[in-house]
């Protein structure tokens, strides 16, 4: 049903016991060989309009996951892909919980967010604050425009050169292993185009 992924206690909710069982199975494996146990989707088959293939957002085993979505685009469950040679449908405590990452009401920009979560209602499109003051909501394009103007101002002039091009040292970028390859590639390109090699991310952590 359409409201499902807005309701943390919806009827299709993965039960806490199932979740803990999945975590325990992964963490305290037994002496029998079969620990890659497929747990099928909790979604009602009749509600599933499409099933998509993705990979788990946590560790670098990158287990295969399937995503059941209803006709309105609501995510009904995220569960292990039995076709994946890596995990054969099994997921650990984190992976089994990634459904809640998708449907989480604490996410920025989702309509379920409330001021009770972070002391501010982050249901908008972009936010800004001065010092430690209150956040103010703004449009994404306005935020991008302000950010870009300030970054260029702080960066100053860039001078290309075949052996001694300038390398702006006043703006530091941090990327992420949580981004897909294409996003990382695009991010790294923007940084090079911006005129700096000041970039780091979690691979060095």
């Amino acid at each position: 049903m359409a409201t499902h992924d807005k309701e943390p206690t919806g009827k299709l909710e993965l039960s806490r016991r199932d979740f803990l069982k999945a975590g325990a199975a992964a963490a305290v494996v037994g002496a029998a060989g079969a620990d890659l146990v497929f747990t099928p989707s909790r979604a009602n088959a009749a509600d599933v309009a499409a099933t998509y293939v993705t990979t788990c957002p946590y560790c670098s085993a990158q287990c295969g996951q399937l995503v059941d979505v209803d006709a309105s685009g609501n995510v009904l469950d995220v569960y292990g892909d039995p076709n994946s040679p890596t995990n054969r449908g099994g997921l650990c405590a984190k992976g089994a919980g990634s459904y809640q990452l998708v449907t989480n009401p604490r996410r920025l920009g989702v309509p379920e967010h409330t001021a009770a979560v972070d002391g501010f209602d982050f249901t908008g499109r972009a936010w800004k604050r001065i010092g430690n003051g209150a956040w103010t909501e703004m449009s994404l394009d306005t935020a991008m425009s302000e950010i870009a103007t300030q970054l260029v101002s702080i960066r100053g002039t860039v001078t290309p050169g075949s052996t001694a091009a300038s390398n702006a040292k006043t703006v530091q970028f941090f990327g992420s292993s949580h981004l897909n390859n294409e996003a990382n590639y695009l991010y790294r390109k923007i940084i090079a185009n911006f005129g700096t090699s000041l970039v780091e991310h979690q691979a060095r952590i």
Partner: protein, 949 residues
């Protein structure tokens, strides 16, 4: 990983040293168990050895019953070995010494016979009949096989006199154990090699390596390694590590019995990984090996040990880095680091002209005799060609093959690359602090863009990080949650922006796992609410930067070109990815190579993947398809479709698209177990760089395979590394040698003074043990020293360092299955929060009694970095409020807790003060000393004291 997650099915011994996969990579344990409990009915069972300061959940999998009457039941080697944090190198060096000693002590044992035959290149064992290809002094590519090697000669005086080169038995197939080391120990011995050209003349190769006739030569790499290991006798190592001498001997025996030399297919042309008598050891490691000032050398000990035992390039063998975040392999491939651009090319250096830079990349000689044309992509190879293509795609306009840029115009594009490196992250946060810059000089960082990271939890020595973040004029955070970084304390006029990213199921794209498998993610729905995909946010960011004039320097370059790109920077450099800057992003549509309709981020991701992963020489005149920029992701062959050539699969397993799966090979999902027990392993499930190889360094062992380009010199694995950048321009594919910077501060006296105060011999070239930067053993510091990077300090001078007198306990940081890294994507989930609601502290029952601590008591853990007696604003240990150090409950049955040794304290590092699940931040305590090569911080060991709260 040199191998892959599913390849664990074939191992006969797992050595886990510095990882806890049962909690942090749980899927791997399924494969470990398949091998241990013989799910395939091969009649053999794999052993498990866990070497770790902590008796982890992985360690508790050791010690299962085994069948003593079955010689193929390797579970008899099961063992948990406890070592002191930071002593991996000492332990592994001790194991290597024990192995070599055993080989010499048991010369009639078949395993010893095999060991020496393999290292000596005995015919049929390590030689093979294959030839090697080099570039001669005239710049011509020459293949040297049996005929040429029969007449090979060296000259050590520039060509005046010639002596027979001991190469008639063939090239050493795998490693450099037989190569001679020059007297100073800084390089291999070099000479001019000449071989008969078959028509009365010679081909000559200057600067070639000198091979010994066997590994008994005192100058060869093997004997140098043996000498280097001499100080690591069992008594010394047991004292350093806090383990027993039996531990070292038992692990050495397990390696000997699970190496190539004990395997039933030793010397055979083809590996037989399903045979009961097959043997292969895999070493698994993670941050427990790397997060030290000697981390990269620790990993090198593993590489040397595994190479020496013939376990590299083997099904079920290898060294497997269990990397952290799901796409950390991909983000590293994309060069999101201060010293890299994508595909492992370094930043073009200051003073480095394009041709000189290109000449050092994998590829062809473009400087000197017989050089190719650096401005003609068809004359470039691999990494060079990818870099050429990337320069065009990043700073210019895509060209069809037949209308490339002139050299003058290409130089205008190369000039746009920023020259030189950025700052490692520890220094970057210091450089945000004006007071630090005033003292230390150099650049002042005034703005930071933090895209998908939470450094306010994950950076070491947080009080320095907090000061840096606070001082920024501008801070931009892009995340799914309002993280500690987004809500950090800021100066009064500092501006912070926060932008909402979406979840992993709402954005399409490829990700690369630890086994180098590239897998596609579908977009299951549009990003929820007002959240956006990273691709949309990035393109909007690029568009805004363009509008603000950020790319005007590139457009200025274009204005000086003879044949400039047509359009402005936004149009040329970004609109080509499929979004015009005005349409609703999620309403974009397109079709993929199979005719499937794509939406939103799928369209852009597909276009970028195509730019990255098309064949390097691939557009074949088709102006809509480009030549690939990421050479490790690219296929080869001139075809108009992208990423679509099956000819590079080793061996070829089918040419038709139906057989393959999808033209975008990351989308292929053929999960049936075809080829599952060969080196190919699910070749149509995703695609693995390099060349779809699932087992790396598989050096022509498998029929139809080719040699790995990463193996060097002259296509050969190295036990020895150089400390200078040497251009191997005689080698067909390998250009510049990698170097390592480690240099202990205690000097070198061994072997001229054996037993002397400084036991180091060729450190850096071979791994040398050093103490952690906060050590509980001053006596060992005075003998082994601390590590340096060729003399440069590995810590900021202003970082407080404690001594064992004030901080008598060793602190290590750990992780748990329920939470992830800096925490925002698990600490906000109710289930994860319920399963593991707060951090805890692990201490040994001996220390608990000593300090009067009972299970469930609150305890403060304090280091020299967290010893403030006044509340430090911006730091919190909610829900208990501000506390000195790290405050949490002591858990898991203190009175019987032997999970850590006496004198060791372990704390998890996932928590901070924002989110649903909150708690003390481990990185308030950790030290920001860094590794000499990778510059990863020494998160895993420092000194602390504890107080009952």
């Amino acid at each position: 990983m040199t191998n892959s997650w599913v390849d664990l099915d074939h191992s006969t011994l797992f050595v886990v040293q510095g990882a806890n996969p049962a909690e942090n990579h749980p899927a791997s344990i399924g494969h470990v168990n398949l091998a241990r409990f013989d799910a395939y009915g091969r009649g053999r069972n794999a052993g498990l050895i866990v070497i770790d300061p902590r008796q982890t959940r992985t360690a508790r999998l050791t010690g299962v019953p085994y069948v003593a009457s079955n010689p193929n039941d390797q579970r008899k080697h099961d063992r948990y070995v406890r070592i002191r944090p930071g002593t991996n190198i000492a332990f592994t060096n001790g194991v290597m010494k024990a192995i070599i000693d055993w080989m010499y002590a048991n010369p009639t044992d078949q395993k010893s016979i095999n060991f020496f035959a393999w290292h000596n290149t005995a015919s049929g064992v390590n030689a093979g009949s294959f030839a090697r290809t080099f570039i001669d002094d005239g710049g011509t590519t020459r293949t040297l096989g049996t005929t040429q090697l029969g007449g090979a000669e060296y000259s050590f005086d520039g060509g005046t006199t010639w002596v027979t080169a001991p190469l008639s038995t063939g090239w050493p197939k795998y490693c450099d154990s037989r190569v001679k080391v020059a007297a100073p120990g800084t390089d291999y011995q070099r000479a001019t090699l000449r071989v008969p050209d078959g028509s009365g003349g010679y081909w000559t190769f200057s600067n070639m390596l000198v091979f010994a006739s066997d590994i008994n030569d005192p100058d060869c790499v093997f004997q140098k390694l043996r000498t280097h290991l001499s100080p690591y006798d069992k008594a010394t190592v047991a004292d350093i590590c806090g383990c027993t001498q039996d531990d070292i001997e038992a692990v050495a025996q397990a390696f000997i019995e699970n190496s190539r030399f004990a395997s039933s297919d030793f010397g055979a042309a083809t590996a037989t990984p399903t045979a009961a008598g097959y043997r292969a050891t895999v070493m698994m490691y993670a941050m427990g090996a790397t997060q030290f000032t000697t981390g990269s050398q620790a990993v090198r000990t593993y590489a040397i040990l595994q190479t020496m035992m013939g376990n590299m390039g083997r099904i079920g063998g290898g060294i497997d880095a269990l990397r952290g975040i799901h796409n950390v392999q991909g983000s590293t491939d994309m060069g999101v680091l201060f010293d890299l651009i994508p595909a492992y090319s370094g930043n073009p250096g200051v003073g480095k002209a394009y041709v000189d830079y290109s000449n050092e990349l994998f590829g062809n000689r473009v400087v000197g005799t017989g050089a190719r044309d650096a401005y003609n992509p068809s004359q470039l190879g691999l990494q060079q060609r990818g870099f050429y293509n990337m320069t065009v795609e990043w700073f210019g306009e895509r060209k069809s093959v037949n209308s490339r840029y002139s050299s003058t115009d290409f130089e205008k594009l190369y000039a746009c690359w920023p020259k030189g490196n950025g700052f490692q992250h520890t220094e970057a946060f210091r450089r945000m602090d004006p007071d630090w810059v005033a003292t230390n000089g150099g650049a002042q960082i005034k703005a930071a863009v933090v895209w998908g990271q939470n450094p306010a939890v994950t950076e070491p020595h947080q009080s320095a990080v907090r000061k840096g973040l606070e001082s920024l004029d501008l801070l931009v955070v892009v995340d799914m949650f309002a993280t500690e970084t987004a809500q950090c304390k800021r100066k009064s006029d500092g501006v912070t922006y926060l932008l909402p990213a979406c979840s992993h199921v709402e954005e399409a794209g490829s990700v690369t796992n630890s086994g180098r498998w590239i897998q596609w993610r579908d977009r299951a729905r549009a990003p929820k609410g007002n959240s956006k995909s990273d691709l949309e946010l990035l393109l909007r960011f690029a568009k805004a930067l363009h509008a603000a004039g950020a790319f005007s320097h590139i457009e200025s370059q274009w204005s000086t070109m003879t044949s400039p790109p047509s359009g402005n920077a936004w149009q040329v450099l970004y609109a080509k990815y499929g979004w015009n800057g005005t349409d609703a992003f999620e309403s974009l549509t397109g079709t993929d190579a199979e005719g499937v309709t794509m939406y939103g981020s799928e369209v852009v991701a597909e276009n970028i993947f195509k730019e990255m992963a098309s064949p390097l020489d691939g557009n074949n005149g088709d102006s809509t398809a480009n030549a690939g920029t990421i050479w490790i992701y690219s296929g080869t062959g001139s075809i108009s479709a992208y990423n679509a050539d099956t000819g590079d699969v080793q061996p070829t397993i089918g040419a038709s698209w139906g057989a393959w799966g999808k033209r975008n090979r990351a989308k292929s999902r053929k999960g049936a177990p075809e080829y599952a027990h060969t080196s190919m392993q699910y070749p149509r499930y995703g695609w693995a760089w390099l060349l779809n190889r699932r087992v790396f360094y598989n050096n022509s062992e498998v029929p139809g395979d080719v040699s790995d380009v990463f193996v060097a010199p002259g296509i050969m694995a190295r036990l020895f590394v150089l400390n200078t950048n040497t251009l191997a321009d005689w080698s067909l594919l390998y250009r510049a040698y990698n170097t390592l910077s480690d240099k202990p501060d205690r000097g070198i006296s061994y072997p001229s003074n054996p037993g002397g105060s400084t036991p180091h011999y060729l450190p850096g070239r071979f791994p040398a043990y050093c103490e952690p930067f906060e050590s509980p053993r001053p006596d060992l510091v005075s003998r082994f020293g601390y590590n340096t990077a060729n003399g440069s300090a590995l810590i900021m001078s202003d970082t407080p360092r404690g001594t064992v007198a004030d901080y008598p306990l060793v602190l290590t940081t750990i992780r748990c299955v329920e939470h992830f890294q800096g925490g925002p994507i698990t600490r906000n989930n109710p289930w994860n929060h319920e399963a593991e609601p707060e951090p805890w502290i692990e201490i040994n029952s001996v220390d608990a009694l000593k300090y009067g601590i009972k299970d469930g008591d609150y305890v403060n853990v304090i280091t020299a970095r967290s010893n403030s007696t006044t509340q430090e604003e911006g730091r919190s240990t909610a829900p208990s409020g501000w506390a000195k150090g790290f405050k949490a409950r002591v858990g898991v049955g203190t009175l019987a807790n032997q999970r850590v040794a006496p004198g060791v304290v372990a704390i998890p590092w996932h928590w901070g003060e924002r989110g649903l699940s909150i708690g003390s931040r481990a990185n308030d305590l950790t030290i920001d000393a860094w590794d000499a090569n990778t510059r990863i911080p020494e998160y895993k060991v420092c000194l602390c004291r504890i107080e009952k709260a």
